[in-house]
Symmetry: C2
Subunit: 337 residues, 2 copies
DNA sequence: CTGAAAGCGCTTACAG
DNA sequence: CTGAAAGCGCTTACAG
């Protein structure tokens, strides 16, 4: 005997109406909580819901209300980098939780390739989601334009470089965070401070470098190297710096992951950290603590960033205009400085 | 002037029908690709779709077809562990991509708390998804039962401990992987091999320990410690082993993350790796390469696991019966042995 | 090959 | 406070 589950028809609102002896409209009213319903009717409906095992059909409800209670989380990095960086994971987890608190589901979309981008654009246009959260450092990406062109509420993580106030965002105060770190390096007596900057087509990359200059003024070019946020690029950039500025005694690295790479390069070059060179990172991601020595870094308030992104998005779904939001960062001192 | 986007009505299939001068039915036929349509009609419809900017409404389609082209990815670990372990991220990314290839969206649900579990169960029951992928090592979780009770196609990652063949799964061959590692440790001449096992309420934890015993037979209890897969627990377990079996010259650790912790404990205890003690991990996750020294480990075929999970799920959605699948692992030799 | 019509399962003014 | 009815935007037999 094979039991055929597909035959079991799911109970609909009609079944509940029938069982409770009330109309579909009344059942709907108690389920949505809108409109007046007598106490007796309510309990009758609730009871019928229980006996039938009724659960409202998501699509039918979405069609009727024009709301899906679903938002898209759009990740637009090339695949390999995607989860190498723990920041993405944290953001994803926090957003999922923040949305869950509002009983809203998150659908994850990855837009690495051009084809992916198309698919995501179409999906968002399908009205399957009420809004979108966009996470991408590379603001050159056309995705911001494409998504905002759909007219759907959109909040991006990080300050978009080339957009006006028409697009909502929440970002950490990268520039100020960088300033704090460089100040710190100076305060502990370092005199030849260098930096490994992030990609200059990302707002984080740009602003952290600006913060560096804010404190140090104009600086010899040989004191600046640029990476792409990856571990490997940090290692390479550190080697460059050592070659071009052998007298360096400190380096501010624009991400923890790159800093981990820099530490390795320093180790191989026989420079002690922090005795010979102080190393400061950025992010306070999980790698920071595990570095040898543990990394002094700048903490990004991921949890709060996620919550604010979600809040902003929900407000926009309810009709609010887009807004930008800058959250403060904090210096976390460990053993590398 | 404020432009009111919400006023712009989205084009519907009726608009396309009108513009193309054909009926709604015909438009639908060309869009779904079902049924016969003349060449002229087809091009007329396609043209109208372009001029109107029409995109089919996801909910309407879902309601009519009873298919959502969406599956749930259910993560059932306590939150803090969730993304500490890179395995989850990899699996998530790979599944998203594998589904994308079939134009199916992934909705991410996290079921850490009991309330979460309720929400996820309800969501799945709402018919908003065509199937579910469940990722959880802890098979004690009632989630497997709850989800399979909804009658929705379900595939779990890892072999469920207490279920029969009624539930579909794909798992790496944990036991054989463990055997390979322990063999390897013996081949390189180690005589006092210990192990840090994973949680014994997970299939991975159980089977990797079984593999250990397969090679070594029954072993002094003092040579076995148990962790919970976390970095910290690996450190603690290693300290225990050093205390109880000071003569140990090798340790097989049931996860890379725990192995990283074990390495730290060994370092602090002044034991050299691999000279004094050889360390073998499990997973071949990104931490393995970054350990000092880089970790010899057992590679889990995550990419393939994800692809097979998705394939199995899609087959079940199309009516196939559940099946189990065991994928081979491989030893990756690095500097820690 | 195409159109008219019923149906998917909800919600929500509108009367009463 | 409640019911009847229209409507959300699609798909899919059914005639022709």
């Amino acid at each position: 005997m094979v039991e055929d589950r597909s035959t079991q028809r799911r109970p609909t609102i009609n079944d509940v109406a029938e069982v409770s002896g009330l109309s579909r409209g009344t059942v709907s009213r108690v389920l949505t909580g809108e409109g007046y319903v007598s106490k007796e009717s309510r309990t009758a409906v609730l009871k019928a819901v229980r006996t039938t095992g009724y659960v409202a059909n998501r699509h039918a409800r979405g069609l009727a209300t024009q709301r899906s209670h679903t938002v898209a989380f759009v990740l637009s990095e090339p695949q390999h980098r995607l989860f190498e960086d723990p920041n993405f994971s944290i953001l994803l987890r926090e957003c999922t939780q923040a949305l869950a608190a509002h009983d809203i589901m998150l659908v994850l979309t990855i837009a690495g390739s051009e084809a992916d981008r198309k698919r995501v654009g179409r999906f968002v246009s399908e009205g399957g989601v009420d809004g979108a959260l966009l996470v991408s450092d590379h603001t050159g990406s056309s995705l911001v334009d494409e998504l905002s062109a759909t007219g759907i509420p959109l909040v991006v993580c990080g300050r978009p470089l080339e957009h006006g106030q028409d697009i909502a965002y929440v970002a950490a105060d990268d520039r100020d965070g960088a300033r704090r770190m460089v100040h710190h390096l100076r305060e502990i007596g370092r005199e030849h401070i260098t930096t490994i900057a992030g990609p200059q087509d990302t707002s984080g990359g740009v602003e952290r470098l600006e913060g560096f200059h804010d404190v140090l003024g104009s600086v010899d070019e040989n004191r600046i190297a640029v990476g792409d946020y990856s571990h490997q690029s940090g290692e390479r950039a550190m080697r460059q710096l050592l070659e071009r500025s052998p007298d360096l005694d400190a380096v501010f690295v624009a991400s923890d992951l790159m800093a981990a790479g820099a530490l390795e390069a320093l180790h191989r070059a026989g420079r002690r950290v922090p005795e010979d060179v102080a190393v400061g990172g950025f992010d306070d991601s999980s790698v920071a603590e595990r570095c040898v020595p543990p990394l002094t870094t700048v903490r990004q308030p991921w949890s709060r960033i996620s919550k604010e992104m979600v809040r902003l998005l929900l407000d926009m779904i309810d009709g609010d205009t887009p807004a930008g939001m800058i959250l403060p960062t904090a210096l976390v001192r460990r053993k590398s400085t």
